[in-house]
Symmetry: C2
Subunit: 290 residues, 2 copies
């Protein structure tokens, strides 16, 4: 089984005082504020689960890949919350980074987290240099151009957006990077693992859209109704609640069916099934808000 404490310990160590050394204290504080306490840590747990299902013979590389994916996710949250985008004042149940530390440090916090993610990969890469190029390409692909989360956010600046392309970049790409990075860290071909991440990512996005239209800020840990107020593509508004619920269920099915043959296949399937049940319950149980 995955040990969530293993990830927290790794993240804690890589952002602790000694690791950050002479970093300006404000930046160091803001970076830690952005990462702790975490949300569900779904993406890094996915990295670790896929690596574990494939033998996890280089746990140091797995930890670094998982942490890198989580730091990149945190960076995107910090920048997305800025007034230039969502202007969200609440994140993970507390004031967002720019509210607490100001916009300058919030921008730099995102930048620093992105760089730190790649730095971590470089630091452990020498343990298995043959796996590093693929891992680096996978992680960068999940975040950058053409179809990573930064590109996904940039679709919000465009007049004409196709919903599935937007969602794939905004959410699916980093989930796909997570499953593929788990495979690459364990030394197996990452490509067959792409569909699993994409399906879970799209399912999460649909669930998030349902929560944004039907949930409340307490459940979501962030403001709701954001898509409508920012005129952003939202699956519920485009397809309706019924079709979204159906789509959510079929994405989870597709995810489970896509799991490639591997030593830990059964355990991984059980784990993903349980997690999916939990987030489906959260997304579907709320009555429509008034």
């Amino acid at each position: 089984m995955i040990d969530p404490q293993r990830l927290e310990d790794y993240l804690g160590a890589t952002l602790a005082g000694p690791a950050l050394g002479d970093t300006p204290p404000g930046l160091a504080d803001a970076v830690r504020y952005a990462v702790f306490p975490g949300g569900a840590r779904v993406r890094p747990r996915l990295v670790m689960a896929v690596a574990l299902a494939n033998g996890d013979d280089q746990p140091g590389l797995t930890d670094a890949a998982a942490a890198a994916i989580e730091l990149l996710h945190c960076a995107s949250l910090v920048h997305d919350d800025l007034p230039a985008f969502d202007g969200a004042s609440l994140r993970r149940g507390k004031p967002s980074v720019h509210v607490t530390f100001g916009q300058s440090l919030a921008i730099l916090t995102g930048d620093a987290l992105i760089v730190h993610a790649f730095k971590i990969l470089g630091m452990v890469g020498a343990q298995a240099p043959d796996r590093l190029p693929a891992l680096l390409s996978i992680v960068a692909g999940g975040v950058g151009m053409p179809g990573g989360i930064v590109a996904g956010q940039a679709w919000e600046c465009e007049k004409n957006v196709e919903l599935s392309q937007y969602q794939q970049a905004k959410t699916g790409a980093l989930f796909a990077a997570a499953t593929m990075a788990g495979a690459a860290a364990a030394g197996v071909d990452p490509n067959p693992w792409r569909t699993l991440g994409q399906c879970i990512g799209e399912a999460y996005q649909v669930a998030d859209d349902l929560l944004d239209t039907n949930g409340d800020a307490l459940t979501a840990g962030k403001p709701v109704g954001q898509d409508q107020s920012h005129d952003r593509p939202n699956a519920v508004q485009q397809l309706g609640r019924g079709k979204c619920t159906q789509r959510l269920r079929s994405l989870v099915e597709e995810a489970l069916e896509s799991i490639p043959s591997c030593p830990g296949e059964a355990t991984l399937r059980t784990l993903i099934g349980q997690e999916s049940e939990q987030f489906m319950k959260l997304a579907l149980s709320r009555p429509a808000a008034a």
Copy 2:
């Protein structure tokens, strides 16, 4: 000799339409706007010069390292120009990215350039995987925490700043990364190459401070008097013009003396001497502005 066109070709190809694929058009345009036409491209030319002086047996890796360093520099300019920092409306003689594309795309442009820099390294890393971990650590170290350019920018958010620590992070770190990356790309020990980069970087920073206090926007290609209006540490304000000029000359001397023994040592020394003369002339020739 270094062929500057080789770098421009590489940058052009990695940011051309086919390479950026389905990137949202606004982001693709903004990213290219941030990189072309370039400034002096001092840092990537330093990468290439040091690699060349050491045999340059993996030119693909050298090109990627040089381009990565330049993209990271461009990213820092885009973010530094934002209203949350300098609020500079002019950069390299044209409106800055946020003026032309808006703040949202400017933030994303910086993010995308940072990620693209690391993506490039991953793409060529397979050519020489044994050199990739060091290269990655060097490049990330020049940009991130504790002492890279993002940390340097974050010192501007602190009340108590030591000038040399600030300048080393804000400018010296990426120059040190440039010389070290050139060595690492060519497969030689990068550490003896740190001093050269640090000295050139600090010299550039002092020259930039002189230009900011004495130059005009046309020569600088950006607004001047920024340090004073933003209450930022500036060597001229702290040490006076005379001591700064002296410091600039001694840094260039120190840089030239630090060049490690290598096959192309003489050519490299001549090149750095000539370039230093040029930027010293620019920084020292302007009369104090009214």
